[in-house]
Amino acid sequence: MRGALLAVDGITKAYPGVIANDHVSFSVAPGEVHALLGENGAGKSTLVKMIYGLVRPDAGAMQWNGAPYAPASPHVARQTGVAMVFQHFSLFEALNVAENVALGMENPPAMRELAGRIRTVSERYGLPLDPNRLVGELSAGERQRVEIIRCLLQEPRLLIMDEPTSVLTPQEVEILFETLKKLSTEGTAILYISHKLEEIRTLCDEATILRQGKVVGTCEPARKSARDLAEMMVGQALNIPTRQTGEPGEVVLEITGLSLASENPFGTALTDVNLTVRAGEVIGIGGVAGNGQDELLGALSGELPGVPTAIRLKGQDIGHLGPGQRRALGLLAAPEERLGHAAAPDMSLTENAALTGTVRERLADRGFMNWRRARSFAEAIIADFDVRTPGPENAARALSGGNLQKFVIGREVLQRPEVLVVNQPTWGVDASAAADIRQALLDLAHKGTAVVCISQDLDELMEISDRFAALNEGRLSAPRPTKGLSVEEIGLMMGGAHGLEAAHVPA
């Protein structure tokens, strides 16, 4: 391998019960944009954590410019010239931008000088940032800018980006790509992790495809179709969810002028949200993370009750009711965070079935729990949704992400909701579980349930929703039929580039 900047050779890393990386090898040349492509759980994150010095490999070796490279800590990696933008940001909300940047640098200059450099570099790359603002007050896109600027200030030779576009609007993605291309022409190698095929096809020179911890192929992504890449990544032809189209029925859910302050000091308040949902239709609500998704789910599930008339279910005011009362009326929900919100990690699946099933499945009699019924409800979910687990007495945290998500969605679906609200139903879930979950939502809608699907995965929303609306800074756009909607239009509904202009970047 001629002139590789980083060469990874036979890296292996095992965790209890799972081999995260199994003899993985690949190399990146200076100026190359190299994709690591794989499903959730394929081992991409573990691999880059080893390159960044956070995790040490069990076996195998790495080389940097031909010399052995075994970083004992991220400090060593940074000194060598490796920088990383994390998927779940490594930022500190209560600290300001400059402090956050300083924490990611080895030898930061004095704060005042650093603030100046942040301004210069951020403008040069078309990513303006105010060094004195608190990170907690920034949008998801701006937060990513902080991470990127932090990396750029160290003039890295290799920049690792872990799923960077999941928090960006299509317009922001374009700007990011401009920045990355500029960096690559300047000679910086980029290791780009994603499961989004089209992105990789436009951006990357080379791709290494991982499946269950192993390298299953390498290619020049521009010369492969997205379908070929998908099959290499998943290892089988995927079932694309099928939908039977039906006429939407009566209006079941009406949201009128819903405004709600966030409980989280750094959260987003909902402002004048309006939406009507009919029986049998799937409404997709897109938007970048942190634009009020959690608050909208909370407002609908009843965790954040408010004005009675703001939410009406089949003509009845329910805006002031709590989750239990709403469930009794047929409004069910499944939040984004599986462990700790949708399910209690240390409790058994039986107890987790009772978590939302008590009301509609009559699991309690005059206040006394009927654990036998709860158990058979849990067993029904496990059987109907193909949840892989030894049995309902197992703790929720012992399940894989995909299996627990199937359990959580199944738990609500089996309760025959009138309206089901889900947030990020397939987040962090493997492709086959994701396909099952999407199919279940479509089937449910076909049987007459109104489904509201909040998601940051635009492909998912395009696949399953009849109408699409976007959340942007706590406001919901007017919904439009999904059919015929272009990526451009979707991006604008999501807030476009949030005032950024790509023109700053002299490519």
Partner: protein
């Protein structure tokens, strides 16, 4: 009632003395909480410091060595807390309570043969020139060294947290330990260091009570000062200089009620003696009623257990 028996100069000077133990304990706990750890064992560490300081001072005749022993005693107890919460991942609330119960038992065992003895006297430092300034001199510049040490400590903590790299890292660890870990900072060692510092400060605060304020050893003599120190950290919204303010406020209430009792004011003693505790509750209510403000002041990872998994 004879309010004229209260000399305002002496009153103000004694407020500085009364607030010193709480100030020391609170500034230590502030550092601990800034690192994301909630140590509810301040009372236990203070009383241990009080007895260790007293015993060492009596045995050696040196109050300075006494304070060193107190800091060490508090730090050792804090190390126990660090071992349990940072390495064995025990619940911080429960461990803090355990530390207090353990400290109370330990101190009465150590101190059982020292009840009724007087502590060796401590020199008052009259700062030249300054102590001769009328009014201000007697109030502020005729105290023992520890009064100045405690104020200097508050200033030092403020400066370190605000201006140094270490302070920044400490705040980062307390704000989001996962992110700090991802950037390569050693969460556990930093927290252990903070916990030990907090223990040493609490120990000093305890010794100030047994060596200067009272000055002798009685069982349970801290009488909730450690808990009040915890409340002061909340009152201070986790800002160092406000600890100074909070400590003076509580010192003031304590001294005032003692003076009113001594002056024979026509308020039953029972109400006067519960005053410091009631004021603590009142202040906590005022500070916590505004939810967004407390949320912004409290470190993001406060009280959460850190375990680097995968």
């Amino acid at each position: 009632m004879d309010l004229s028996s209260i000399n305002p100069l002496v009153l103000l000077a004694s407020i500085m003395v009364a607030s010193t133990p709480i100030m020391l304990a609170a500034i230590g706990e502030l550092v601990v909480e800034k690192a994301g750890v909630l140590n509810l064992g301040v009372e236990g560490m203070m009383i241990t410091g009080a007895v260790c300081g007293f015993v060492v001072a009596v045995e050696t005749g040196s109050p300075t060595l006494g304070f060193a022993g107190a800091a060490l005693g508090g730090a050792v107890l804090a190390l126990l807390f660090a071992l349990l919460t940072q390495f064995l991942l025990a619940n911080q609330t429960a461990t803090g309570l355990a530390l207090t119960l353990f400290g109370l038992g330990l101190s009465s065992l150590i101190g059982q043969n020292y009840v009724g003895i007087k502590a060796p006297p401590i020199a008052t430092i009259r700062l030249p020139v300054l102590s001769d300034i009328p009014v201000i001199g007697p109030i502020a510049f005729r105290h023992d060294l520890m009064v100045y040490v405690s104020i200097a400590l508050v200033g030092a903590v403020w400066a370190v947290l605000k201006y140094t790299r270490f302070g920044l890292i400490l705040r980062a660890v307390g704000e989001n330990h996962d992110a700090a870990h991802a950037l390569g900072y050693k969460v556990v060692p930093i927290r252990v260091a903070a916990i030990v510092f907090g223990g040493a400060c609490a120990g000093l605060g305890g010794a100030y009570i047994s060596l200067i304020r009272v000055p002798q050893w009685t069982q349970g003599m801290t009488a909730g000062a450690g808990w009040i120190a915890l409340a002061i950290v909340v009152f201070a919204s986790w800002r160092a200089w406000r600890v100074l303010l909070g400590a003076y406020l509580f010192g003031g209430v304590t001294v005032l009620q003692l003076n009113l009792q001594a002056a024979g004011v026509n308020i039953p003693v029972v109400y006067l003696s519960m005053l410091p505790y009631l004021v603590t509750i009142l202040v906590l209510v005022i500070m916590s009623a505004n939810r967004s403000r407390t949320a912004l002041g409290a470190p993001g990872a406060l009280g959460r257990t850190f375990h680097a998994s995968q």
